[in-house]
């Protein structure tokens, strides 16, 4: 009977030394790597053999036959291949052989060339990621009625992810070992969707949504659903006007006079009232709270 196990650990392409050490250790314990899964790494139980692993990065292998031959003839077996760019090889471990028999790059010039290829792959993969985060940042800036907590969390998670990506890229560029900040990364990856969820649950923050067109005067009660900064705007105003927001006790907390466009204040959840008045005859305006 075959025994399998899955470990919830996405393959970390950039920490290849750590990754190799991990695969070697699993093999020593009797768990042999199987190329399956994206966010998981699969192993099959077989304690009759111990493998040593190596990872190789290539820009693109055109003569795959010749490439694999170079490995085969030294006892390496292809364990996994990703887009003809990253290859995982394994070799049956024989304690009688010297450690140098399990190296695939045996001079620093070729090792450097390989690390350069790895760096290039990393840069190429970083582009969509940076594009996405720029897109998110722009969206964050453009959405007006945005949950304050959600917004803060999203800003920070984006910052952490981008900063981490940048530091990894810098390490790769300087050929330093890439230091992992897995916990911080994991935190950011979990926090981002949570913040998104929070954003959708309390969206909009003002109930009913207030965009009131008026001529003469208006009065409307509304509910604030989450603690946040809210803005009072007046748009398309003709003539003189004033607009105010009052709290439950009738105390004025925001006020706009003619020529003021908007004002902002931190409000706690509760009932509020907005009042507006066009002072000129036939005056018109639109009052918005968001």
């Amino acid at each position: 009977m075959k025994e399998y196990k899955r470990i919830y650990k996405p393959f970390q392409r950039w920490e290849y030394r750590e990754e190799i050490a991990w695969l070697n250790e699993q093999s020593r314990q009797g768990w042999q790597f199987v190329p399956k899964g994206v966010f998981t790494t699969h192993f099959v139980w077989d304690d009759s053999v111990v493998y040593r692993y190596q990872i190789d990065y290539q820009t693109k292998v055109n003569d795959l036959d010749r490439y694999l031959d170079a490995y085969r003839e030294q006892g390496w077996e292809l364990a996994a291949e990703y887009g003809k760019q990253m290859f995982i090889f394994r070799k049956v471990y024989d304690p009688a052989l010297p450690e140098s028999d399990y190296e695939i790059y045996t001079d620093w010039e070729s090792l450097k060339a390989m690390l350069d290829k790895q760096k290039r792959q990393r840069l190429i993969l970083a582009i969509p990621m940076l594009f996405l985060s720029v897109l998110s940042a722009v969206t964050l800036l453009r959405v007006r009625d945005m949950n304050m907590i959600a917004r803060t969390v999203m800003y920070w998670t984006l910052t952490i992810l981008d900063l981490n990506e940048y530091l990894c890229l810098r390490s790769a560029a300087r050929r330093e070992p890439v230091r992992s900040r897995k916990k911080l990364d994991a935190l950011a990856i979990i926090a981002f969707p949570l913040a998104m969820a929070l954003f959708f649950v309390y969206y909009p923050g003002v109930n009913p949504e207030l965009e009131l067109k008026c001529s003469g005067s208006l009065e409307q009660t509304f509910e604030v659903r989450r603690p946040d900064w809210f803005r009072l705007h007046v748009r398309n105003a003709q003539g003189e006007y004033h607009a105010v927001v009052l709290d439950q006790d009738g105390k004025e907390i925001m006020r706009l006079e003619t020529d003021d466009k908007r004002t902002q204040k931190f409000l706690m959840p509760g009932e509020y009232t907005v009042r507006g008045e066009c002072l000129a005859q036939d005056g018109e305006m639109t009052v918005i709270v968001n």
């Binding site: 190596q54 010749r66 390496w76 028999d101």
Partner: protein, 103 residues
């Protein structure tokens, strides 16, 4: 011309007499250097790819075991000989100094 790396030098040297496959080159290099120089698979593939591209070596029809063989081209032979001359000059210079240059 830039000096050859040790791996490049040994690969060319191993092909000087006759065509060989990668494994043969690796073994011979290890033997010639007394186990000091090894050519791992990644290094071997990179070096042979680059030398094929530069025209220093070429692939030749596989032997009866159907293994891929490499052969030195005239260009490659010239590169190797130039490098050996350069190395001999280095050794000669060193010997002159060690033997008491300017004394």
């Amino acid at each position: 011309m830039e000096p050859l790396t040790e791996s490049y030098f040994y690969i060319l040297l191993c092909l000087y007499e006759q065509p060989r496959h990668g494994y043969g080159i690796m073994r011979m290099t290890e033997e010639l250097s007394g186990g000091r120089v090894k050519i791992g698979s990644g290094t071997m593939y990179g070096a042979t790819s680059s030398m094929l591209k530069k025209g220093w070596i070429e692939e030749c029809p596989a032997d009866e075991e159907r293994r891929r063989m490499y052969r030195l081209t005239d260009g490659g032979r010239e590169i190797l000989e130039t490098e050996i001359k350069r190395l001999q000059q280095l050794i000669a210079s060193a010997n002159r100094v060690m033997g008491g240059y300017g004394r």
